[in-house]
Symmetry: C2
């Protein structure tokens, strides 16, 4: 929806390409205007967040994907936004996992299914002035203006999902809010990364400065052994560890709702597998 | 999505305008190509389904809204579709309330929230050859081809809603399927219409040959009395009877899930209100 509402044929939008979702996002933007790649980490299968970046001279907006679930990488801070442009973030897989400085953003959008609630809803946070500025000739249902004017009730809203999201927000507040979640998530992922860095069998696939606190990707370096570990772990009740087919290996997804003792259980299983006590 | 996928600037799409949803549908279609009004009942505030109709000479498709919730009208049968065109139906408010001859349709789409399950899902039934024929230059997410090729899992599907829809389908089958639902719905609405036609105080607003089995709209003819009845009925536990602001009066929505004794309770309340035993 962002390019449809905010990009014209004459304008350029800047994209930071750090994984499959940003690749999909830039492909859609090409239908509406010009695009510019600020940086890409495709050369090393997206295992890092590039530090070297170059914006175009006058972009309409700058788009990034804050966390890349498949590749286990995450932005530590917001990319630069040239004067006159606004920042757009696909925060689907790390929204509300940590506080962000919302004043830096023009649009944040996030599918609910990772940290917010059930699949089937997208949360959008948009700056008021952008609602006004959007392209007026957009199908009604796909215009941010429509949804803002109707208080998100232009169409029958997905009431059950919104209700569940409300419960999740209350739960987040009870736990101490986003500051507390950030600590919790850093602690959970930190423990697993520490084990990976110490361990002899498993290693993290993402560069140290780009590691995600939501999705920890790791390998043994031997595809056959990876498979054996996944089978072993599944049998121990640790399900869903298989990495995405485009990277292979393992992926431990540790969204807000994932408990700290789940990390303990995973590390324990990895240790036992490594030492042969299986 | 239908005009976006199937209408070009040079083509014409035919619309039967029988209420606010078909008006909205034709307005969106105008963004993509030419439109033609086959018939409209706006002259009498959409209280009937016009019998007189005129298709354009070579439409891409013919679009109709099978049931009009606000105005309490419903098509008895499918409109004619000229050779070379296909039929498109917005069946949001009466899908699975009765059997239809699906071979007559090119596309049926229906928001789930009336007869299928929770809000937030749209069910689409589309003919295989149309999937292939659709405009290739459409945003990926808005192309029928995308969803068909990925078995409706291009994006993370709204799993909870789909699961609930599955339960509703099983329930429909248990009750005897769509034939049984059609009988049940005809019986429920028939009883209320019979009372309206006999009664002296209340009268049905839709023409007899156009009446909806899902939404029965009625008035006393006196806005003040309507208001009194709604307050009385609400007090009796009969909620949601207020008609849409564009028609006023009362509306009894009796979707598949609405029980037959709910109709008894409504008629009983109407009788007591009418005879002054309140």
């Amino acid at each position: 929806m962002t390019p449809m509402n905010f990009l014209t044929q004459e304008e350029t939008a800047d994209y930071l390409v750090t994984g499959s979702w940003s690749k999909k996002a830039i492909a859609e933007a090409k239908r509406f205007g010009k695009t510019h790649v600020v940086c890409t980490s495709e050369d090393r299968n997206f295992c890092y967040i590039p530090a070297e970046r170059k914006n175009s001279s006058n972009p309409a907006y700058v788009h990034f994907t804050s966390n890349n679930t498949i590749y286990g990488t995450q932005f530590r801070s917001e990319p630069e936004t040239p004067d006159g442009a606004f920042l757009v973030c696909d925060a689907s897989s790390d929204i509300f996992s940590r506080p962000i400085d919302i004043a830096k953003y023009g649009i944040v959008y996030a599918g609910a299914q990772k940290n917010l609630g059930p699949s089937g809803i997208t949360l959008v946070i948009i700056r008021r002035d952008l609602i006004e500025r959007g392209n007026p000739d957009v199908p009604t249902m796909l215009s941010y203006r429509t949804h803002a004017e109707k208080d998100s009730m232009f169409n029958t809203p997905p009431a059950f999902g919104i209700y569940l999201m409300g419960l999740v927000f209350k739960w987040l507040k009870q736990l101490g809010g986003l500051e507390a979640m950030a600590e919790r998530n850093a602690e959970k992922a930190g423990r697993l990364y520490a084990y990976l860095d110490d361990g002899s069998l498993f290693r993290s696939t993402a560069d140290a400065d780009s590691r995600s606190l939501m999705n920890v990707t790791f390998v043994t370096g031997d595809a056959e052994k990876d498979k054996q570990f996944i089978a072993f772990a599944t049998n121990e009740g640790l399900d869903g560890l298989k990495g995405h087919r485009s990277v292979g290996g393992m992926r431990a997804s540790m969204y807000n709702a994932f408990p700290a003792d789940g990390v303990d259980a995973l590390i324990d299983a990895m240790q036992r597998f490594e030492t042969g006590c299986v």
